[in-house]
Symmetry: C2
Subunit: 344 residues, 2 copies
């Protein structure tokens, strides 16, 4: 217990197997050039002693850590109110552990944290970073870029346009919005309103763009800005009903706002979907299933997004050893699917 046996070193294994450290190292790291009988003897010694390599010593010389940082900027608590984050992490975790990499989680809240994160990244504890940064004024992406670490962003970053080689994974927000609105049109609705998300986030902007793609020059009175919360959805819906009492459909920027909109609609005596059809976005469970009526919405594969981010990063890390460099897609956009329930 208190006298935990000192962990065996390479040296110890070498002694027991009657070989040199170098040979044990070769066997442990799976490089060839060790003849079978010897290799076998080493392997036996390894698990007789319960040898586990000391990662610190290894990193010291290889300059590799087999660890990547996952950085989540959440100035608002919003990110945490929904299960997205957990799903994404899970996808990331799966992919990372499949490649024997560790996941170091950094949650940042205020500006003080940024300096800390920058220092950490500069400190070279990790080989790369996966970054979730939602807001347009977030200095974090810049700091990270400057640290010179291979990085993949979750969601299209704001300055993506010009910059070259900014890697990111995003869901097809624009395409999903189009699908949603087309679905509403397909139901014969013509006066389709849109409640946007917080427009300092690219996801909200892209969804709005998708709405406009299909509606082509919609009445501005049919668009109201929300901030992704249920309360904002409720407020926006009231606003919209006031301006355009004749509206017959709503595409909400996410399910939470859709849920809020449903309340406002009920309060105003509108039946869903008979009077007003409602479509959300995200397929955020269990919310989307629990509303009255259950929500028709656009589903995105959040876990896959995480997995893909990790995969992209790991590929970069592998490559950075090679001479070629660069290449590979800079941004990847994941498809979405419309899930029909009862609200539209």
């Amino acid at each position: 217990m208190s006298e935990s046996a000192p962990r065996p070193t390479l040296e110890a294994v070498a002694a027991r197997a009657g070989v040199s450290r170098a040979t044990v190292s070769r066997v442990v790291n799976g490089s060839d050039g060790v003849r079978e009988p010897l290799a076998e003897r080493v392997r036996r010694a390894v698990d007789e002693l319960g040898y586990v390599p000391n990662q610190a010593a290894r990193s010291l010389v290889t300059r590799r850590h087999d660890a990547v940082a996952v950085i989540v900027a959440e100035p608002e608590t919003r990110v945490f109110a929904d299960p997205f984050f957990a799903r994404q992490l899970r996808g990331i975790s799966k992919e990372l552990t499949a490649h024997d990499n560790q996941l170091v989680l950094l949650l940042t809240e205020d500006r003080d944290d940024h300096a800390r994160v920058a220092r950490y990244l500069a400190g070279g504890h990790v080989d790369g970073a996966l970054v979730f940064s939602l807001h347009i004024d977030d200095p974090l992406p810049g700091l990270i870029q400057r640290a010179g670490l291979p990085t993949v962003f979750g969601g299209r970053p704001h300055w993506n346009g010009g910059e070259d080689g900014v890697r990111y994974v995003d869901t097809d927000n624009r395409g999903g919005a189009r699908d949603a609105v087309r679905h509403l049109l397909g139901l014969g609705r013509r006066r389709v309103a849109h409640i946007t998300g917080a427009l300092d986030q690219t996801s909200a902007v892209d969804r709005l763009d998708g709405f406009r793609d299909v509606m082509a020059d919609p009445d501005p009175a049919l668009v109201e800005e929300g901030d992704f919360t249920a309360a904002s959805g409720e407020r926006a819906m009231r606003e919209l009903l006031g301006r355009r009492p004749d509206l017959d459909a709503v595409f909400a920027g996410n399910d939470l706002m859709a849920a809020g909109a449903l309340r406002a609609l009920r309060e105003h005596g509108r039946r869903v979907p008979e009077d007003v059809a409602v479509v959300g976005f995200d397929d955020m469970l269990p919310i989307a299933e629990q509303t009255e009526p259950p929500l028709t919405t656009v589903r995105q594969d959040i876990e896959e997004m995480g997995r893909l981010m990790a995969r992209l990063l790991l590929r970069d890390l592998d490559r950075s050893a090679e001479p070629d460099e660069g290449a590979g897609p800079t941004g990847v956009v994941l498809p979405v699917t419309l899930v029909r329930r009862d609200s539209a």
Copy 2:
């Protein structure tokens, strides 16, 4: 970019400041015994060169990593369906970063992962572990205990009773359940039913115990087992209504099941709270606020729980350097508060 300058070493700083490595080390690590003018010169050299200590090299000799693993066992996806996890992580993260510790996240899903986790812990990459393991048959706690790392559990572990020194942080599930049921009795309800959570989790068992504490020998027909999902709550509620159509209140083991119960009640034409009063547990937002009617429930401070777990662990880590050892509370139970909304 591609030619990232080699990071400066202690040696380089020493040379620039015209002192020895040892002195720089002393200054960097804040140990005294360096006279002010010299220390100042060192500090200047440090930030002129942008020196950041190499953690790997440091760990190699100190055998400290300033990192703790957070292990989340989630055989079912349930853990991920709710925002708990994120909140807890956040509390943990705050406390850890306040003490300059890193958070290494390990998510496990199946048995294969367990071996991996055990190996990782044995590998001595981290100084301690925070563990969330819900189910009674989970081998993980045993494995971790065997790795000999300081550990704090989230939620009362199953074998807590006998074992000494098993540290954990839990919410007052039993007390909260009592509060909930007393509240219902206070409203004049007499035929109070209970929908339990999955009884292989201590939280569900403790809540059931709390229910029994107050109800003292309740009709077994008034208790139905659920599994913490909304669907199970709905099913359980139907079951209960079938057996005891006269029931006038329900205490659900969590908010999700309460939401399910509300649906079943509505379906059976029962008004809430007039005919049947409903109380949930967790105050899981936004669910608890979004139900019809909004849920009266027992709130637990999830973030504080995470923070406390981290604090306990860090204290143990500090102490393990000292001679005294042991001592300190083995289990900490956090208080809960009843939140009155409209359902009871």
